[in-house]
């Protein structure tokens, strides 16, 4: 409906911005308290430098590959947690949920001799059902998520103990499941993976520019796209190069080189969930419910369904994390998904830049933060610190990340951004 025809030039939908404007805009956001991925990336750099200086073995090819396999479970659980955190909720049971799903997997594989695909599917379904129950209790019965998942945290710990007959562990000998964390892509396929990622990223960016330019809408400058793509190519290239170095103690007997299989799995999950969050209506509604639940409700969004689905995604991802953990250890015990896994995962999401207050966060945060957590854990292990020290340090890091989150929020409020 035409309300008023104005003769003035139409308002630029969003003006073209030069590279310089992008850079200055970035610094303005930083100053305004929107730190984004900066703390995680800076932390990663500093930590790597410190550990490299203190323990020369830290940057070795073997340890580098370890970082990926050690960080996988945490990163995957953290990716699921991002959805719950985006709504301003919390899932404290994600760690033990992943343990229960891993126990289901091991039980079916080893004691029931099910084929791997059925066992994995059942483990995933277990996660989804857990999420449905938690989400329904939160969204429909309206128990605070903190209480629901704290109760589930205790209960799942018990379920894991019961399933594993009071502490016995079940070994997993299925070659497919074990391959996830213990086998690598061939060297050539590792490079193909890199090329696919870089070309795919570039193609998505260019297509976006083209479709926007065709409508006369503002676009990112090509120089910015070139810099980002180049950055991914260089960092990815270095990573693949190091992962392709022989890291077996006895290369003649068994060769150990290439990108661990879990890495493309994480990349796939990252791409799929990022796509869903940023490009689909469902993702938009997640942000809306996290930003202003009442506004979302008035916009006709089914808020309860969104909230339940976030818990389903979280527990489902926890199940995948559990499968990865079972693969890494070749076995499942009552502590799979226990001890510090959950706090590490929450820490990963928050360190990466996902807010505990809801409405702000990305799936990428979980992976970046997961890398930070993996480096801390791995580096301190190399330094020979006890588990006690590790717990204390991780607790402090989590607190620091949450503190940065709270402070940057206050800063943003002061600068009128939130």
């Amino acid at each position: 409906m035409a309300v008023q025809t104005s003769t003035a030039a139409p308002m630029a939908a969003s003006p073209n911005r030069s590279l310089a404007q992008h850079v200055s805009g970035y610094f303005r956001r930083l100053a305004g308290g929107e730190l984004g991925a900066l703390p995680a990336v800076a932390g990663l750099l500093v930590l790597c430098l410190i550990f490299t200086a203190l323990r020369p073995v830290f940057p070795s090819a073997r340890n580098f590959a370890n970082l990926f396999t050690q960080g996988a479970q945490i990163s995957i659980i953290a990716m699921g947690l991002v959805f719950v955190l985006l709504l301003g909720e919390i899932d404290l049971s994600a760690g033990f949920a992943s343990g229960v799903c891993a126990a289901v997997l091991a039980e079916l594989l080893t004691n029931w001799h099910w084929p791997w695909y059925l066992a994995i599917l059942t483990a995933l379904v277990t996660g989804v059902v857990i999420g449905l129950v938690l989400g329904t209790l939160v969204a429909k019965v309206r128990i605070p998520s903190f209480v629901v998942t704290l109760a589930a945290f205790l209960a799942f710990q018990g379920v894991a103990l019961l399933m594993l007959k009071n502490g016995a562990n079940i070994s997993v000998s299925d070659p497919v499941v074990n391959a996830i964390e213990n086998k690598n892509l061939p060297v050539w396929l590792s490079w193909v993976l890199l090329v696919a990622v870089v070309v795919g990223y570039l193609a998505v960016q260019l297509l976006r520019v083209r479709s926007r330019a065709a409508r006369g809408l503002g676009t990112d400058p090509l120089s910015l796209i070139a810099i980002k793509t180049g950055g991914i190519a260089v960092l990815g290239g270095l990573a693949v190069y190091f992962l392709n170095i022989e890291r077996s103690f006895n290369p003649l007997r068994v060769s150990l080189r290439g990108v661990p299989i879990v890495v493309p799995l994480i990349l796939l999950l990252l791409v799929v969930w990022s796509f869903i969050l940023s490009r689909t209506g469902y993702g938009r509604h997640i942000y809306a419910v996290g930003g202003n639940r009442e506004a979302a409700r008035r916009a006709g969004i089914n808020v309860d369904r969104i909230r339940i689905s976030a818990f389903v995604i979280c527990s489902g991802m926890a199940a995948i994390g559990g499968i990865v953990a079972a693969s890494r250890a070749n076995s499942v015990d009552p502590n799979t998904g226990g001890s510090n896994i959950l706090l590490y995962a929450v820490g990963a999401a928050v360190i990466g830049g996902t807010s505990l207050f809801g409405g702000k966060g990305r799936v990428l945060d979980a992976v970046l933060g997961g890398a930070v957590v993996a480096v801390i854990d791995n580096g301190m292990g190399l330094m020979g610190y006890s588990a006690g020290t590790k717990y204390v340090v991780t607790g402090i890091v989590l607190l620091a990340a949450a503190g940065i989150d709270a402070l940057s929020r206050r800063r943003a409020a002061a600068s009128g951004l939130r």
Partner: protein, 266 residues
């Protein structure tokens, strides 16, 4: 007389023990601005939320465009062409202007959000409303001023093929110039054939744009009259006492203090 676009008959609404709306009748015509006035807590926002499907009403009849309808959700109200700009602006601070304007009704091409189309439509709508104050439609709503937010909320309401636009105190937080702009916009909407309901406490605003005035008093509809048939002071009396001369509620429901006042005047 043309059929009204919206007719409410005998609407009742309680929040627990609090009976907020009592047998409310309310009629709105297309092409007119109907002002809904009443004191704080009279039930204006509640009535509007019942119309918008936010609150279910306990009893009463809801007739839209001559047809009895049942509106149970904001989506159903939206399907009828009812758009509400809420007093507590329903915007998501963490989303940008485009994302807010299309919230819940995103354009899709296949599975993917059609961002270019949405951005274009949002820009065009703001442009039609002569909005020049926002730098970019990709700005986060958190970074907008109160007046700019109000404009976004109104633009959101007229973006759709709306037939009835309800504005709950749209000028309450605005400066002089922006108030004038919003009122002009309200008038334009009606002149373009939409039915507009304007809630306001400012009688100057009401008389500036309204064709009809409806006054709520403690949850009852005291009177619905043409703006030209009533004076400023009569409206104030209807708002504060529920009765003015021979218009308004039956004495049993109107304020006794006012009755005394009236007797003295007589």
């Amino acid at each position: 007389m043309t059929t009204p676009l919206l007719e409410l008959h005998g609407i009742n609404k309680s929040f627990g023990a609090v009976h907020v709306l009592r047998d409310v009748d309310f009629t709105v015509y297309a092409g007119e601005v109907t002002a809904l006035v009443g004191d704080n807590g009279a039930g204006k926002s509640t009535l509007v939320k019942c119309v918008g499907g936010i609150y279910p009403y306990d009893s009463g009849e809801y007739v839209f465009d001559g047809h009895p309808v049942h509106v149970h959700s904001p989506r159903e109200a939206g399907a009828l062409g009812v758009e509400i700009v809420y007093q507590d602006l329903a915007l998501c601070d963490n989303l940008d202007i485009v994302q807010n304007m299309f919230l819940g009704r995103e354009r899709r091409s296949g599975l993917i959000l059609d961002e270019p189309t949405m951005e274009q439509m949002a820009a065009q709508t703001l442009d039609r409303l002569s909005v020049r104050t926002v730098a970019s439609v990709r700005q986060q709503v958190a970074s907008l001023s109160g007046g700019q937010r109000q404009t976004v909320a109104i633009a959101k309401a007229v973006l759709w093929n709306s037939r009835l636009v309800i504005l709950d105190e749209p000028t309450a937080a605005l400066g002089v110039a922006q108030t004038a702009q919003v009122l002009e916009l309200v008038r334009q909407l009606a002149d373009n054939g939409l039915a507009v309901v304007l809630i306001s406490h400012n009688m100057n605003d009401v008389f500036a744009v309204a064709d009809r005035i409806a006054a709520l008093y403690l949850g009852r509809m005291a009177a619905q009259v043409k703006a030209s048939d009533i004076t400023h002071s009569q409206i104030v009396e209807l708002i504060t006492a529920g009765r003015s001369g021979d218009i308004g509620l039956a004495p049993a429901h109107a304020s006794t203090a006012a009755d005394i006042d009236l007797d003295e005047v007589d």
